[in-house]
């Protein structure tokens, strides 16, 4: 629970730091997807926190309660399903990167469409969000790879 709150707070800090110009990367969502890799069969500890975290995010930043919550919950569920559909040998850091980046991309895309993509400043903000998410996702992918190595060594 504490890591989830910590990640949400970190994302909130980033948004407060970048406010008015850019959108912070969805660190909270990336962390939820990271949790999927740890306990693939446990869907509820990922999806419901996604809804709650997104709901709080909306209350703080978008004034559209439920919007980000629904997006986070849906993307988290998709990631759980996708991860579980891939056979064990294929569940690696590359797959995690693909899922996390896709989730970030679709979260940005939904915002882009919902908020009106014709605004030039929004395009810049979303491009920044995607670009700034990449290092975070790479770092998380490295953590996933390290975790996989440990698991393999244990087995």
């Amino acid at each position: 629970m504490m890591p989830l709150i910590g990640l949400w707070y970190l994302q909130d800090l980033f948004q407060a730091l970048l406010s008015e110009r850019f959108l912070a990367p969805d660190l909270f969502l990336v962390f939820l997807i990271y949790r999927v890799t740890k306990n693939p069969r446990e869907a509820s500890p990922v999806i419901w926190p996604a809804l709650v975290g997104g709901l709080f995010w909306d209350l703080r930043w978008t004034s559209l309660p439920g919007f980000t919550g629904a997006v986070y919950a849906f993307l988290a569920a998709l990631c759980v399903v996708a991860w579980n559909h891939i056979p064990y040998p294929g569940r690696n850091a590359g797959l995690f990167f693909l899922l996390a980046f896709s989730a970030q991309f679709f979260a940005s895309l939904v915002r882009f469409i919902f908020w009106g993509g014709f605004r030039g400043s929004l395009t810049g903000a979303l491009v920044f969000q995607l670009c700034s998410a990449v290092p975070v996702i790479i770092a998380a992918a490295l953590a996933v790879a390290a975790g996989m190595d440990e698991d393999n060594a244990r087995h």
Partner: protein, 257 residues
């Protein structure tokens, strides 16, 4: 695996539905604004580090921009000061202490073949002399440093045909170009035919020049009648520098350029 997947779908769809339901119910509701306000108030304190950082960065950027402007202003003032000192320093009726932005240089060579073209002075890069710096004699522009070596430099003279100096007529603010004729004379070019300049009007370097600083006195228009070439008047100029007797120059190393 199937059970887990089914469960994920169910949880995911349920959570998404609830999120969308929230969105539908709360859209435009005054309660939403109040709750959002409350969230902002609660998070105001935890978010303070980010707000401080943002302010710090913003002030840092602003400070850096201000510093740049300040440095430009200081350079302008340095130049202004050097120019004024150059003008005053060699006036016998005014006592002015030597300025740090001016380097006194003796003329140590003047090749007869290039008598009106260039002179060599005994100061070089070791003394802070750089190519492009103006050289003055009794406060008037004599030429411009063209080549610099460690212990000496060459100065192109105003009487050289190769040096073209944008100048302004101080009384009328007409712009023209000054160049030498290679035989000790100096001409003012590109004054439109309809402009009638009088003898005695003073010339100084123009602000349009990207080579020399503006405002350096050059000389005045002579009383010789102008000639007309291609629709422009060409005036003879009486330079402030006596190129026949000058034995030293002041190189303006302070300010721009």
């Amino acid at each position: 695996m199937l059970k887990g997947v089914s469960s994920a779908w169910l949880h995911g769809l349920a959570a998404t539905f609830i999120g969308l339901l929230f969105l539908a119910v709360s859209f435009g509701s005054p309660v939403t604004y109040k709750v959002s306000e409350l969230a902002a108030v609660i998070l105001e304190y935890p978010e303070r580090p980010a707000l401080w950082t943002r302010r710090l960065v913003s002030e840092g950027v602003s400070w850096a921009g201000g510093q740049k402007k300040l440095q430009e202003r200081v350079r302008d003032l340095e130049f202004e000061n050097a120019r004024l000192r150059a003008t005053l320093q060699e006036r016998p009726d005014v006592v002015v202490s030597p300025a740090p932005g001016l380097v006194h240089a003796w003329i140590d060579a003047r090749p007869p073949a290039f008598w009106w073209t260039e002179v060599r002075v005994g100061r070089g890069s070791n003394d802070g002399v750089k190519a492009g710096m103006p050289a003055l004699w009794k406060g008037f522009l004599a030429g411009r440093v063209s080549r610099v070596f460690a212990g000496h430099s060459w100065v192109d003279l105003l009487t050289s045909t190769g040096l073209m100096v944008p100048v302004v007529v101080e009384e009328t603010r007409d712009l023209g170009v000054l160049t030498g004729d290679g035989r000790g004379g100096v001409q003012l070019l590109y004054i439109p035919e309809e402009k009638g300049l009088r003898s005695g009007m003073r010339l100084s370097t123009a602000p349009v020049s990207d080579i020399l600083p503006a405002g350096l006195p050059v000389g005045e228009i002579s009383d010789a009648p102008p000639t007309i070439e291609d629709g422009f008047r060409v005036y003879r100029v009486l330079p402030g520098v006596d190129f026949s007797v000058m034995d030293s120059l002041l190189v303006m190393t302070g300010g721009r350029p």
